[in-house]
């Protein structure tokens, strides 16, 4: 079938944990933004799963080793694996640290069949990893099916000694040797549809898969639970209902490639190279150049209406040593992703023991290997109009900027407003610290019924634009110069005539005549709570010049709570 490339996928399970150097029979989990990204089999045994919050995970397994997510270190640690596989074929593609793939047509014929090739690949990788982690290999038509084949059979879970669990109490001790032959799964040519049919549609959304969780959710609710069900639907209906995403999911469910393989290589003028002079010894300098090249490449491709899904990154040292790698991604490459991968690759190369370059790096090039028409993101009609912003992209940009600000100032420095209930202008909205990654998530109010409820005694809208916290001490005098008082029943003793605001360190005190005033708005809050009981009354006053203040009196002392700036 010319529509499918037969692919071999090597998958190292739980790679983030392995890359951190933690043995897999110790319960450990890697966290990113407070959620589990990967966990060791021992932790899975205790009930830790991906996407759990840190507290949940730690409550299920108290002696969980907590590791931080470090994609650069994972990529660096993964570098020996494609280096080992290069003995089989030069066209290794790295999908993400922990998985790599290559088409099997040539190497399979050379090594005498798919099974033999897969066994050889598994042996090579196991040797490169030196037993630090399990290796699984899958061969099938198409990278999606091959990845699923590689992931499907989990190796025997090594249960740590001393944790007897039911009938499997005869547990191997820590560090027991694994089974002699690493697991290999080969799906015969043309057998992909049959292999994929019983799998659930959830695999489409895993691990940066082609479909999003919303699509999977809708499919499940429609009763389409397996890939076989999805493949049985007519493609026109699926596309009509779900669009481009549905077309890709349907093709994958049928065992075809996401898109027909592109036979013509991309034009040579899309290859961008940069000379680095003086030769760079450190990765940061090259990463900076790579960022510029990546932006340039992205702009050129976008101008041609294309995007890149497979990219060759190459570097050359001043003594002529070169190092090339092919990177593939789900979806298309963004400039940031390209820059990240360049950094990972060079980290791996510059720190590899045997093959490190003997001099600095002088040249860097990016060559797109496979380009596809860019689907683009069409703005919804209702959100159109001049200046309309792509919400997802704007949110991502904002989250990245906030991550940097949090790095500079700390997590507490970034706050978002949240509606609360209250009467004082500063109490109706509270500022809540937020993690940069969560800033794009919807943030419903913590207690919406408090916000919606009526608040008698609330000063009517409009709200003041400058809220003084703490309130500025002030004096309110009537026409005779006596302080104005508000009785417990909310009756004001005399009309205010002068407001004297004390200086607050940024300016001298001011004395202003009252042009107009209204109030008082008394409020007696939390009378049932001895400590939190507050009795206040508020006045609105305007002074000459159109300046308006919100004054509050509590226990006979006046203050300027807010200015209508």
């Amino acid at each position: 079938m010319t529509e499918v490339t037969r692919t071999l996928v090597v998958w190292c399970a739980d790679w983030p944990v392995v890359a951190a150097g933690v043995p897999l029979d110790v319960p450990a989990a890697v966290f990113h933004a407070n959620r589990v990204v990967a966990c060791s089999p021992a932790a899975r045994h205790e009930g830790v799963e991906r996407h759990q919050r840190r507290r949940d995970a730690q409550s299920r397994c108290p002696d969980l080793v907590v590791l931080e997510h470090d994609p650069a270190a994972e990529a660096r640690a993964f570098a020996p694996v494609p280096a080992a596989l290069e003995a089989l074929t030069p066209r290794i593609e790295i999908t993400h640290p922990g998985a790599c793939a290559f088409p099997t047509r040539g190497p399979s014929r050379y090594h005498g069949g798919d099974e033999a090739l897969a066994a050889r690949a598994a042996a090579l990788v196991a040797e490169a990893l030196a037993g630090r982690g399990p290796v699984q290999v899958g061969v099938a038509d198409g990278p999606f099916a091959a990845a699923l084949a590689a992931r499907r059979r989990a190796p025997a879970t090594p249960v740590p000694a001393g944790r007897a669990v039911g009938p499997r109490s005869a547990a191997p001790t820590a560090g027991a040797p694994r089974s002699a032959a690493p697991p290999v799964a080969v799906v015969p040519p043309g057998g992909s549809p049959a292999f994929l049919a019983p799998l659930t549609v959830r695999v489409l959304a895993e691990q940066g898969g082609p479909a999003g969780p919303e699509l999977v959710d809708v499919l499940e609710r429609l009763g389409i639970r397996t890939l076989g069900d999805l493949a049985a639907l007519p493609v026109a209906e699926v596309v009509g209902r779900f669009g481009a995403e549905g077309r890709i999911a349907h093709r994958l469910a049928r065992g075809l490639d996401e898109r027909p393989p592109v036979t013509a290589p991309p034009p040579a003028e899309l290859t961008l190279a940069a000379e680095i002079d003086p030769p760079a010894e450190r990765v940061e300098a090259v990463a900076f150049v790579a960022r510029g090249l990546a932006d340039d490449l992205h702009t050129r491709l976008a101008a041609a209406g294309s995007a890149c899904t497979r990219l060759l990154v190459g570097a050359e040292s001043e003594h002529g040593e070169t190092h090339e790698r092919v990177w593939r991604t789900e979806g298309t490459f963004t400039p940031l992703a390209i820059a990240d991968r360049v950094r990972w690759q060079l980290d791996g190369w510059l720190q590899a023991g045997a093959h490190r370059p003997t001099g600095g790096l002088t040249r860097l090039w990016l060559a797109p290997d496979e380009i596809v028409p860019a689907g683009g993101r069409q703005l919804a009609f209702s959100a159109g109009g001049p200046g309309a912003v792509d919400a997802v992209e704007a949110g991502d940009r904002a989250a990245r900027a906030l991550a940097r600000v949090q790095g500079l100032l700390g997590v507490e420095a970034v706050r978002v407003p949240e509606w609360r209930g209250g009467r004082a202008p500063g109490e109706r909205v509270a500022l809540v610290p937020v993690a940069a990654d969560d800033v794009t998530e919807p943030r419903p109010a913590a207690r919406p019924e408090w916000v919606r409820g009526p608040w008698p005694g609330l000063v009517p809208d409009p709200a003041p634009a400058a809220v003084h916290d703490p309130p500025l001490p002030a004096e309110v005098l009537d026409a005779a110069g006596r302080p104005v008082r508000v009785s417990g029943r909310g009756e004001i003793s005399a009309a205010p005539a002068t407001v004297v605001v004390a200086g607050d360190g940024c300016g001298p005190g001011t004395r202003a005549a009252v042009v107009a005033w209204a109030g008082p708005w008394p409020c007696d809050e939390r009378w049932w709570d001895v400590e939190a009981h507050r009795r206040r009354a508020r006045l609105q006053v305007t002074t000459p010049g159109g300046v308006a203040h919100l004054l509050a009196v509590e226990a006979g002392r006046w203050s300027v709570e807010a200015t209508y700036d």
Partner: protein
Amino acid sequence: MFDHGGVARAEELVGDAGPPGDRLAGRPATAGAVTGAGGAAAAAVDAAVGALAERVRPTDLARDRTLPVLPAFDDLLPATGLRRGTIAAVGARPGVTGATSLALALAAGASQAGSWVAAVGLGSLGLVAAAELGVSFERLVMIADPGRGRTGWASVVAALVDGFDVVLVAAGGGGAGGRGRIGPADARRLVARVRERGAVLVAVGGDLPGQRSPLRLTVTSSAWEGLGDGWGHLQGRRVTVEAGGRGEASRGRRAELWLPGPDGTVVAVEPLAEPIPLRRRSEGAVGGP
């Protein structure tokens, strides 16, 4: 992918519905009853298709060059919106307030269109007022005062300019009362960064030190309405705003706005008709012209 051909055809269709002069100049005065009725229906279709074609028009992948603003600002700003990559200084005459509300209203247009807004060092910002003026809470982030040290403030604002379309800062350069002012060199670098990223920096209360902002909005007078002598409540404020600056904004403009109006929105003040004064006639006549 956009169907460029289809959009082009749609636009041509709009033109084909009638001779261009007819569509542009409005109904000719001599149109008969029958043609007038058909022409009115065709004009409505033209308008609808034209509006749709305008919205479907493919935008280039680089973002548009201006940020939208509330309609009240149409008379004040030289372009149709806030030009990206500029600094706007929003201030008030001494003794007059309203700068903060004006800055929020300026950001509200972009916020409602989906842009993200960040506010640095504006610890006393009234958030309820921000919500009422139109700034969306889903896309508003408040950054604490970076504190002492010029480098802290400048690097924080530079990081925010990368990711946010509108950044509100206190004009003194961080800190209340001008503590921690940034130097002119930092300000120049910040201006260059803002221009490169295509963001809009709104300095609330004045210019950045050492810079003359390309766009300067000043509240020259404000008057609150709704308070009496012990009754009523603040309902609306009429402000007079003057726009000046460099370049295309150098020709000063002024406008009267409700900030906010009695219904809570920011709109231009509708000029009321001048009442015709009654003139006293001689004894025989009774009022009237």
